[in-house]
Symmetry: none
Subunit: 227 residues, 4 copies
DNA sequence: GATGAATGAGATTTCATTCAT
DNA sequence: AATGAATGAAATCTCATTCAT
């Protein structure tokens, strides 16, 4: 099978896996069922993905790629607009992407969770052997920071061009925007409903965006600390 | 064995389980090893916790309890101080608690992840049978919102007493503070190191706190949306 | 507790055990249930009977005793009648005893089955450790042959007094009567119904008795072999 | 694996199980050891036999089959001889088969013991859940009466052709022969030695056969009862 | 001797993963 | 690459038996 065919088949398998993981969750998903859903045998499934974890990581990988692409598209589509706007759009799209793709956002978070590193490099003690061997685990490490980098770059550009006026270090701000989004996603994912404690979650998103805007415009006194 | 003795023994078992989960992670942990660590047999272990998942949930339960207690202590210790300060302390302690207790924060996040509910009540399709049967899964649901409620209450009090000046609805703000903390925790947990992208994570925390203060003091224009 | 009291309690426990074994069979019977049925705790049960097998053997023991007593009574009650008649009555009572006491007959057969001996003494390789230690296992061995001996003795007496005319060795005949009865019991016990293959089992009993009578009266040519 | 291969493997496993049961008895036999003896894993063992009891019943099943085959062979080999002789040979072969195959005869007796039926159909109250689910338990019920039927048929033929002269109903006689054999087997199995009470067990067998011959030849007055 | 808890041994199950054809 | 069977590791369960108080 030539490389392209293989790519396509691999992709089709991931599609099937996504459907199964989506329906019953990682733990309950059986490799048997995924193989069946993909219309192949378990052995073939294993010839593509060497472990269940690797298969799951392929979804994380896809998620990072989609996110990267999404961020990249925003940058490209708005190359003539002020970076301030681009940054806000990216942040919003991050939140939207995740709230619209439960599986992708979970896969993303799960990856970052498993990928925990310690002072002395990767902390492999909690990793399954299957993860350590996983080729997607390796591949995803190469691209894991892409979305973050795109965002950080736009922030820096904005500071240079003057549309972003805050005094905060661009990396620190990006990190902050990232965590704010992650927290939002975590809440969205722990809820299935559009409201929680009678609060419409869209209001939460709006608040996050408004806050981002204020920070970026330098309207907020953030003291000595963060700069 | 009277109820108290049983409580103590159960607690001692959870101690042992924490040590094992901490050391090798949930997946790699063997019930046999946990039993051994607790100085009991596997069967006894099962007589206390009906499944590995239930045992893990007991740690989530403990985490929620500790967090609740921590929040409650702050409230009590500072009953004479302005609520603004109390709220900021709670937020800070949340971040500190989690960054200092990897296992607890993970157990907390894992619980909220699995506990996802849908419009039509709990979405059990992704739960393991073991979780559905888990008594700790039931118990934790009764207290899961306690920490959040404490925080929300202090925010509301602050608005009443005038130390908190923002125009934002107290629940919405609390939710925002909650997500900001969760995001911070998620990043802390995905990292083992005190810095990421050359950014000292303590700076991120400071930024979060400064931001919280500015919001609470009503220094930020959050527009119509969130109010 | 004095010896008599203990005897009585032990007996009451066996009563309870009989009821449980009768109801659900040896394998399905739980020591817990037996203790409950006897109105005592498991530990007390164990202080009387050191193992489930020993408890079961106490029923075998009781069965052998009852059988011995039954045979003895017949002998006594009919000391003035011809031995031929006594022998026939014993054989009949054996069959009746067993068909009326499923549990006793099974316990009897089970004991003889487990007690299998080899050329080099007892074949303990298939015995459970529990059986080897069982005190009832020891006690029953002392009396296991009593019923057989009574029968054999009456046969021999009958030959001496002339009411029994067969030429067959009394021990051989007794053994034969014994096996015929055992086979009958086995069939009775494997059936719960009074008929099998449309044959009324009482007819089978009648045939066995008629045959016994003919043999004892020397009406049957048994050739050189058995004598 | 085609059906035949599976049959062969299943058969090989039963071979191994026989060896283990033979050596240490049912209770002492461990599934692990049987698997090891068969050169497979426990899981594979379970994929063939769903429980230890089912595995044991497969031996009962094999025993019934072997007995049926043995009886059938005798009938075939002697189709030109008088049925009287065939019947006697069958009875003798039954006794020999069992005395030469301790495990088979025990498995046979155990099956009949557990299979006890009541007026209202099978009496399942004493059966283990494992037995109720056992596929061999189902299969053996279909063939359990085959050996008996063969014997009964030859007796009836003998009466028709005139080599068997007794007035007794053929079914009743067959049942009697059956019980006599079972009793003999029971004694053989409860003994490991060739003698008991100084009686050579072969003499017992001879006596049984001589008796059978006399009955079949109508030499014995069995009265009104049985006919 | 009574009680409730714990032990130990082994049966059974579940699945991801691998083997053999 | 496809198929069905097998493996291995660990979870879970059952129960007779024992311990501690």
């Amino acid at each position: 099978m030539n490389s392209q065919k293989r790519q396509e088949k691999e992709s089709a398998i991931i599609d099937a896996a996504e459907a199964v993981f989506q329906a019953v969750g990682f733990k309950n998903a059986k490799m048997d069922d995924i193989a069946k859903a993909a219309g192949i045998t378990k052995v073939t499934l294993y010839s593509y993905f060497q472990s269940k974890e690797n298969l799951y990581l392929s979804i994380s990988y896809r998620a990072v790629n989609l996110l990267t692409k999404s961020f990249g598209d925003i940058v490209e589509r708005n190359h003539h607009k002020p970076r301030l706007e681009v940054v806000l759009q990216i942040v919003e799209s991050f939140m939207d992407f995740c709230s619209q793709n439960f599986l992708y956002s979970e896969a993303l978070l799960d990856y970052f969770e498993m990928n925990r590193s310690s002072d002395s490099g990767k902390d492999e003690s909690k990793l399954t052997e299957a993860v350590i061997q996983s080729n997607y685990y390796k591949r995803i490490q190469e691209i894991q920071n892409e979305p973050f980098k795109i965002l950080a770059k736009e922030v820096a550009k904005g500071q240079n061009e003057g549309s972003i006026l805050m005094k905060v270090d661009s990396m620190l701000y990006t990190l902050h925007a990232w965590t704010a989004s992650l927290g939002y996603i975590k809440i969205i994912n722990s809820t299935g409903t559009p409201t929680i404690f009678n609060i419409d979650l869209s209001k939460l998103k709006q608040m996050n965006l408004k806050l981002a805007e204020q920070i970026l415009l330098g309207k907020i006194e953030l003291g000595e600390g963060p700069i």
